[in-house]
Symmetry: C2
Subunit: 624 residues, 2 copies
Amino acid sequence: MADIPARTELTVTTGPIRGSKKIHVPAQGNADVRVAMREIHLEPGSGEAPVRVYDTSGPYTDPAVKIDIMRGLPQLRRDWIVGRGDVDAYDARAVKPEDNGLSGPDRAKGVEPFPHVVRQPLRAKSGANVTQMYYAKRGIITEEMIYVAERENLGRARLKEYIRDGEDFGAEIPDYVTPEFVRSEIARGRAIIPNNINHPESEPMAIGRNFLVKINANIGNSAVASSVAEEVEKMVWSIRWGADTVMDLSTGRNIHDTREWILRNSPVPIGTVPIYQALEKVGGIAEDLTWEIFRDTLIEQAEQGVDYFTIHAGVRLAYIPMTAKRVTGIVSRGGSIMAKWCLSHHKESFLYEHFDEITEICKAYDIAYSLGDGLRPGSIADANDEAQFSELYTLGELTKRAWEQDVQVMIEGPGHVPMHKIKQNMEKQLEACGEAPFYTLGPLTTDIAPGYDHITSGIGAAMIGWYGTAMLCYVTPKEHLGLPDRDDVKVGVVTYKLAAHAADLAKGHPAAKVRDDALSRARFEFRWRDQFNLSLDPETAEQYHDQTLPAEGAKTAHFCSMCGPKFCSMKITQEVRDFAAKQNQPSDQFIAAEDVEKGMAQMSEVFRETGSELYMGSGGREHD
Amino acid sequence: MADIPARTELTVTTGPIRGSKKIHVPAQGNADVRVAMREIHLEPGSGEAPVRVYDTSGPYTDPAVKIDIMRGLPQLRRDWIVGRGDVDAYDARAVKPEDNGLSGPDRAKGVEPFPHVVRQPLRAKSGANVTQMYYAKRGIITEEMIYVAERENLGRARLKEYIRDGEDFGAEIPDYVTPEFVRSEIARGRAIIPNNINHPESEPMAIGRNFLVKINANIGNSAVASSVAEEVEKMVWSIRWGADTVMDLSTGRNIHDTREWILRNSPVPIGTVPIYQALEKVGGIAEDLTWEIFRDTLIEQAEQGVDYFTIHAGVRLAYIPMTAKRVTGIVSRGGSIMAKWCLSHHKESFLYEHFDEITEICKAYDIAYSLGDGLRPGSIADANDEAQFSELYTLGELTKRAWEQDVQVMIEGPGHVPMHKIKQNMEKQLEACGEAPFYTLGPLTTDIAPGYDHITSGIGAAMIGWYGTAMLCYVTPKEHLGLPDRDDVKVGVVTYKLAAHAADLAKGHPAAKVRDDALSRARFEFRWRDQFNLSLDPETAEQYHDQTLPAEGAKTAHFCSMCGPKFCSMKITQEVRDFAAKQNQPSDQFIAAEDVEKGMAQMSEVFRETGSELYMGSGGREHD
């Protein structure tokens, strides 16, 4: 039966992903740290061990947890944070009407304030630094690092079955991830754990090229939301299918309240572009933006628990004219807001000028930078141009300044880039930004397929992920055309999940192949349900199967719709194996290439005995 | 309005693709050869020239042509073929009941014989050779080569506007394609023009790595076809969206008659896997296959006009045991039929043994070989293994043997290959097969996304196309799960079209960028209809747009649904340009990087005069 996910009264999607069970694995080094994973159980009798997969879905897929979005998720990290003794609770900044847009919140649209707002957020004690990078540089292994190590090790217990194989372009992926390895990666800036101390609900995760490739999904408020549950559901739906982080790109009214609902219910890090909210506070007039309004917005979001900020501080005044000759100019919204401000005042960007002050804020809450690429190319024609790379080198300069204060940094990247120019993006980023994690949007490898830009960009995403990009920002089929609906979000997430996994395979990530091999064996052995359950989207796989062969019996039948019941190429392979076995020889030696002629008649006889009764006949097409 | 394609009484899809006009361009060197192209007309007033695109759709999109599938298409090439004076007409082999399956044709299913079957097919005169390779090696430039040259030159008239840019991995793509270049590529085996002299309805096209990357769509008969028109429609639908060749993989009953209908109505080359039909003739019992039955099938299909044959002659007896230790064994249907035959008789493959005799047949009709990769990997685990490459080197040996008789050859390739192992496939193929065109199925870059295998394989297809593969065999979303329907075929074709185009861009194919740039300019200038019409799938692009902004006025509005009417990053860029222009300086110099501070107040004043009145405000999300 197809998976019809249950919804709670407040209409967020809950219940296990089909064929799967939520498990909590005690971490190496600290058994109190229990890491959530998903285990896919295969057919009894198949002799197959359950397959453990990385699980971004949080408690929503755990039947043992009662979900109540009015209360928010349990505060997994609260004790770890407080236990370090370097934070103070203090009275939060008062919420202002303009935090929800210039006209204030719109209660008619069903967006109420979250009923259990934290009135006393946490902040680093005066003079303290609470970033994971700060701890890491001082040799401290945090619970967050322990959690990440176990989470990334997923499946590596089976590594001994595999010969590692891949091309990692200079990455240094270990056989096993230890907490110490996580620490060292964070200390040198090669990975980040985005986890604001005011978002204790989050399950720690790492972004870095020596870890599994991650993906981000974007959500945003909608003017016609029927309830806050609808807004929360967008996040829940994204993480169900595999989003590792979610960016809330809401604009207009209700921004503050919507974000609060999302944060309190999110087990994944939440990123934002604070300039969007700041712009709302000045009625959408970019030139009216000031450092003071922007700074106040950062504090507002820091106290709520935003885990990473996109800051377009690399859009310097001098670079803006470089975009005038482009085919598509400036396509980043944040980039164009800053360009407008800079041009209007003819001043250097206030984000650039006040960068160290922003870093001070990040340091006090452990917010990671996602340094925005406001000048990224918006078309194949504009890829890898002067404006783009000028900004990138400024982002590199800012990375080093952030690292001086031990603030975690990742770097945003393009955009639209033809395949032959993708690698240069990765190489320049590594060089300019000292191996800080790269976080790219696609890139799209051609401009001519609107409606299919999840695919044009999925190609670029898989490639740049292979080359070393640590997180891929998804693109949905609606890109350039309209706003994604629920189905578009799912297609976007699954497409990026498969691109990230293809990258992990190609990098030679240990044990990435476990899932491919389990699925291929299920396919070969006609374990249809196992094939569905092991796939990234079991529902769609089953639906497609059922469109051709709807009968329930067809799911256990040892044939498929391509060749029908009487002939199957996979059965032939079984005969090859049986024949080899009957001869009592290792199958790879059973006929030596130079020995073909010998004993042909005799072997032919053996074969007729073993199983040449197999039927062939009606069927379909050559399927791969 | 969305494009609702018309259908003729016999229900094949006709009518222009929206926004496009069929044109016929006189070829350089022979104005009697008129090459079909599609011209996309852009908004009057945009100042944009029409964009010419490669057109595979044949007369079906030409309103000037009355389509009658009972008669078939006009015989474009008939005079060229007969004019060369090296063919004879002769009495065709009599159609046997078993040509339509062991039970003969099933007239109840609506498959009638084509009413105008050619009773007198053509064949090379005794001792003659009618292949394009034969002519090419002797310095003869045929009309087919002239046609191909003009067709490939598409858009290159505008090449002077472009600086060529790409990485072609040793291909030799010229600025302009001359008929002589086509001849030389065919002479050295680097390209083929598949065009059986008994398929004069086809519009010549080339497959080779110095030409545009091509794509193939597979079709097959269905047991529940309501009419022959449904079978013809599958081909018509595939080529409408861009299939350059179509393979008819029908099995079961009505094979012969269905193929006749398809060939007589197809403007693109048709490929088959003759062993499928031969197997039907022996009731599906692989071990009952004989060379005589196979040979008779080849003649049957040659006389009908099949343009290329997939022949799995590289599945040698000695290689079969190499598959025993694989995760997914032999997944090619043709490969497994031959494996079964070889094992059963314990004899070398009759395809391998009789290869030169098959070549004799190909030579007499100009049928190209598509040497099948019967041992291709069916999973990531099996990629690039001994069995696969052993077969590949045999295909290289057979290529040289075919070339000795001047028969055109392409080589089939995998399959399932992780990204880091794709390039090796291309390199070994070039080395083993003397640069004969490579024709791959995907490859799929991971096994874990059934339901999304058009995407897992589109990634691999784009990459291997970039590396040098000449034709990409499509994969639909139903791969591994069920039989594709009409929508699946379209999604598969468009996905492969975008992958092929991404490859052309990355190879630095001259003028490939013309379409991307035209679309990006349309996007930047909010010419929505132009953006739809320039896309690979105008219908889907418009539908997606309309889901968010359905009003007809929104198609001419200078904003999009992402940012709403009051703010747009693209407008900011226009302001940057206007500002630069008003200063009367070249835009790339208007502020020198080292001169930022100077005259800030003055410039700010200029900007306020030019256009800072632009509103910003309500909106959506950062869109790429």
